[in-house]
């Protein structure tokens, strides 16, 4: 019996190679066999039924509201995978047992893989030993129980992921933090079928390793009072050398950078009308009558209330 690759079959059926790989994983192509990481499909295999609803069907029956619009896309696998494929943020889809089934282009870019893999099944999210280190073990467990879960500002071990997915193995001088969202997709029988995980960048750094670490430290401790001792400890350098190095790379001293971060957060929180002005100062860890508060008010060029009013009008 002759066999074809998923790419050849995809071309023949007019669908993407990933859709064919997914049909194989789901056992919807009779006689398809897996050799190593490659699916082999018998010549003359029948294309699985297209489960998309036809326009006429929709007119014949009164549809419940959830089967229209975007929601319908979740029941229409090809359309759904097309949306996911071109989604601008890294995203992957796993089966309910944790097996990775699909990753979009943005995900491959993220893990520095130039040639997307057709078979991702060797990766299992639930069996990933690194979950604890990431601090997302609970996030994953809840997601695989069918909950919609969010995790904020997670430092993603990018080098580890690049190595895992076989990406370009050069040492990276970047650091990424993500807000992660995982949501379930249920099948027709209301059983958990897939878990979709989306990564949206919350912080990105690219510089010398020591500078990245210093910025990360300041960005994570901006609420606290600035402490050069702790910063020097975090980067394992002398206070003198690090202050000069930081200035050389960023154009400002670590303390100036800290003030910039604090000022940006202060302005951001002033736009949150649910907080009182003193509440904003508290949230930013600033004493309302202290020296830093005075400086921030000067930098703002107006009173915090005026700034809030101006932003509300915009």
């Amino acid at each position: 019996m002759g066999y074809m690759t998923v790419k050849e079959v995809g071309e023949q059926w007019g669908v993407g190679a990933r859709a064919v790989a997914l049909y194989c994983t789901e056992g919807r192509i009779e006689g398809a066999v897996k050799k190593g990481n490659i699916w082999l499909i018998p010549k003359g295999a029948v294309k699985p039924e297209d489960r998309r609803r036809k326009k006429d069907d929709c007119q014949e029956h009164e549809q419940p509201p959830e089967s229209t619009g975007l929601f319908q896309a979740f029941h229409n696998k090809e359309l759904f995978f097309d949306i996911v494929k071109h989604f601008p943020h890294p995203m992957h889809i796993c089966a309910s047992d944790g097996t990775m089934l699909f990753a979009n282009d943005a995900f491959y870019q993220f893990v520095k893989v130039s040639q997307p893999k057709e078979d991702l099944s060797k990766h299992n999210v639930l069996r990933d030993p690194g979950l604890e280190g990431w601090g997302i073990k609970e996030f994953v467990q809840r997601a695989y129980q069918g909950e919609v879960v969010n995790a904020y500002d997670v430092k993603v071990p990018i080098q580890e992921m690049v190595n895992k997915f076989g990406g370009d193995n050069d040492m990276l001088s970047e650091s990424l933090f993500h807000n992660m969202t995982a949501f379930p997709i249920y099948n027709e029988s209301h059983q958990l079928a897939y878990i979709v995980t989306v990564f949206v960048i919350s912080r990105y750094y690219q510089d010398r390793e020591e500078i990245i670490r210093g910025k990360e430290y300041i960005d994570s401790h901006w609420k606290e009072e600035f402490d050069i001792d702790q910063l020097a400890e975090a980067v394992h350098m002398s206070r003198y050398h690090y202050t000069r190095l930081f200035k050389q790379h960023t154009g400002m001293t670590p303390y100036n950078y800290y003030q910039e971060v604090k000022f940006a957060k202060f302005k951001e929180l002033l736009c949150d009308n649910s907080l009182s002005i003193t509440g904003v100062f508290d949230e930013c860890g600033i004493d309302y009558s202290g020296s830093l508060a005075k400086k921030l008010k000067q930098k703002l060029g107006m009173t915090p209330s005026q700034y809030r009013r101006m932003k509300t009008k915009e």
Partner: protein, 159 residues
């Protein structure tokens, strides 16, 4: 008449140079006296404490070991509180970093045109006199042991 007008600027320059030399000489003498005082009488000498200009003594890592009354009043810094003078080095006052480090190489440095240098000693919540206190100059000098090894540094801020 013509001879006088030619000589006048030279005399003025000489006077100015003498005055500068005198000033520098006074500063050097003052530093020597302070160095002696710190070594002989310990850090908590009444004279140092009551000296009208803000002054601190610091370790090589920037930790303060002595703060006089004038500095404490100007900045609101608690005299028993742990504070590192390298905490708040700004772009405008980056020269202070070099001057502090140079102290431990045995060098004395005069800095002028500083921008709010006393802010180095403030904490976020402190309600001292804060900015515009008028201190624009500083003299950083080493305090050495008998064997010549610099163990501490000191700085006096001048208006």
């Amino acid at each position: 008449m013509g001879k006088k007008s030619k000589e006048q600027p030279v005399e003025e320059l000489m006077k100015m140079l003498k005055s500068l030399y005198k000033k520098e000489n006074i500063q050097s003498q003052m530093i020597k006296k302070f160095q002696k005082l710190i070594c002989n009488d310990g850090l908590y000498s009444t004279i140092l404490n009551d000296f009208p200009y803000p002054m601190v003594v610091f370790e090589e890592n920037g930790d303060l070991v002595f703060v006089n009354n004038a500095l404490s009043t100007e900045t609101g810094l608690d005299k028993v509180c742990k504070h590192n003078m390298l905490n708040r080095i700004t772009d405008e006052n980056l020269r202070i970093l070099d001057a502090t480090e140079n102290v431990f190489l045995g060098k004395t440095t005069f800095l002028s045109g500083l921008s709010e240098p006393l802010e180095l000693f403030m904490s976020d919540g402190i309600r001292g006199k804060t900015s515009s206190s008028g201190y624009r100059e500083a003299v950083f000098f080493p305090i050495s042991e008998e064997n010549g090894q610099t163990v501490l540094g000191a700085v006096i801020f001048i208006k």
